[in-house]
């Protein structure tokens, strides 16, 4: 990405958020920013990138936005007219260099992640507005056509406007529930970077970075236990990135990862956020997941992993998320601390709930292998291979299957 494109990506969320505050309309704000970006593409390569590029983009876009608002005849709402007047005064009185663009991104993220929009729409809209990704980039990541993604985003912008979704940080009474919805979107964006797209390493990493960027932004704008938990979780996960694949293997499980490759700086930072989260003494699902990741990241080797602590954390996670996937993870942790045969019996009971879930059969095969049940282990492994949706995971399982044939 070149310098100018990088600035656009970095600043567009903040600029859009402030523009929406004036227009109360995401589409109008986007159009104005688009205009400013076009101007920048013409002027910056010639005159150089302005020292305060965010303010430059904001002020140019704002002038355009106000022009456009004036052209809209129906725009005669008293309050908004006042807002425009104030905006004009503030533009005329300041130079770009000293202008501090107001940060309205918290309003924007709560609006984009409003539970009155469906989850897919929340994710798409957040990537489009807060992260400044293009419709094409988002469409590619979610494996749908650009037209369909465009419609999804347009529909949600229209719903925000027509349904009376306010451009505000929710009131105290609603804050926690609404925050949960924002965190879910960040979590989905991060997870998407690990599952959906194959062979698109670059974009995958971009999505992970966007999720981390959003979580850091939330820390800055509205620090709370789960927000710190989220950023810690993502950083712990990201710290292990370099060890998850190499030139030969596209997927390396935790057990076989080279811990020398883990990013100590990120782990230290994540530990710091974890401490901040725990200081609130308000348990939550992201903090618990972060704590589990912390135990892995801070263990010097696979052999000394504190499985008992991990087991207890999964048990606690069940209070927040009673899904069979969490139960599966609990059983895997238990398989290292309790009588393997009993854990296996419990695992079998889970099969009806997870019969189309690849990790279930991968875990089942692993435990069967440890129980010296090679035939069952291979059958489970074959099921896992069949259910695998991700090329690199499938390759890993196939290699394992090939190795079992040799033995």
């Amino acid at each position: 990405m070149d310098e100018i494109a990088r600035i656009f990506r970095a600043e567009s969320g903040k600029v859009i958020a402030s523009l929406v505050y004036i227009s109360k309309d995401i589409q109008l704000a986007e159009d104005a920013l688009q205009d400013a970006l076009e101007q920048a593409s013409i002027h910056w390569p010639v005159q150089g990138v302005p020292a305060n590029s965010c303010a430059w983009l904001y002020l140019v876009a704002k002038r355009k936005l106000i022009d456009n608002l004036r052209k809209i005849k129906t725009y005669n709402d008293k309050q908004n007219t006042d807002l425009i007047r104030q905006s004009i005064i503030s533009i005329e009185g300041t130079s770009e260099l000293e202008y501090d663009v107001p940060d309205e991104r918290l309003r924007l993220i709560f609006t984009c992640c409003h539970p009155a929009l469906n989850e897919d729409a929340q994710v798409a809209l957040t990537l489009r507005t807060l992260c400044g990704l293009t419709v094409k980039e988002i469409a590619r990541a979610y494996l749908i056509s650009e037209v369909a993604m465009g419609q999804r985003i347009t529909r949600s912008k229209r719903k925000i406007k027509k349904a009376g979704i306010a451009y505000e940080v929710p009131s105290h009474a609603q804050l926690n529930a609404r925050l949960a919805s924002v965190l879910k979107v960040i979590y989905l964006i991060y997870n998407e970077s690990y599952s959906a797209f194959e062979g698109q390493t670059l974009t995958r990493q971009d999505f992970a970075q966007e999720a981390i960027r959003l979580s850091r932004l939330m820390v800055k704008l509205t620090p709370s236990a789960e927000v710190f938990g989220m950023v810690a979780l993502l950083l712990f996960h990201d710290a292990r990135r370099a060890s998850r694949s190499n030139s030969l293997e596209a997927y390396i499980p935790l057990e076989h990862q080279d811990r020398q490759l883990w990013d100590d700086k990120l782990i230290t930072e994540a530990n710091k956020y974890m401490d901040k989260a725990l200081a609130y003494k308000q348990a939550g699902q992201y903090q618990i997941q972060a704590a589990i990741s912390a135990l892995h990241c801070n263990a010097p080797s696979w052999e000394v992993t504190d499985w008992n602590q991990i087991r207890l954390l999964y048990l606690r996670l069940l209070d927040f998320n009673g899904s069979p996937m969490v139960l599966l993870n609990l059983l895997v942790a238990k398989s290292y601390t309790a009588e393997l045969d009993k854990v296996y019996q419990e695992l079998l009971l889970l099969e009806t709930h997870l019969s189309d879930y690849q990790p279930y059969y991968a875990a089942k095969s692993d435990i069967e292998g440890r129980l010296a049940l090679p035939v069952a282990a291979n059958t489970s492994l074959d099921k896992a291979i069949k259910l695998s949706k991700n090329g690199s995971e499938r390759d890993f399982l196939l290699r394992k299957r090939a190795a079992s044939l040799k033995n």
Binding site: A163, G164, I165, P170
Partner: protein, 110 residues
Amino acid sequence: MQFLALIYAGEGKDDVDMETLISQYESFEEEAKNVVLGSNALEAVSTATSVRVRDGKSQLTDGPFAETKEQLGGYYLFDCKDLDEALLWAAKIPSARYGTVEVRPVMLFE
């Protein structure tokens, strides 16, 4: 902004007896009196008649527009500052506990 809260529930599927439900609605209306612009309860869906005019002629059907598990049983018209406020009030409508309340903004013609 005005919002219409449409109350859908299975007829005869109330989770409390009629007397209790009425008193719950009364306390809701007392609490919400500053935002409620209008409201009505409807007779059972068995009393519904649907009309369609085709080729200038009225065609009547004995029954609702669509057969559904939950039927429209009444509505409130709220005056609220935004969707969040309307949703808070909608969640307090007693039938939201066992039915569904659909909240729709009233269209503004500018």
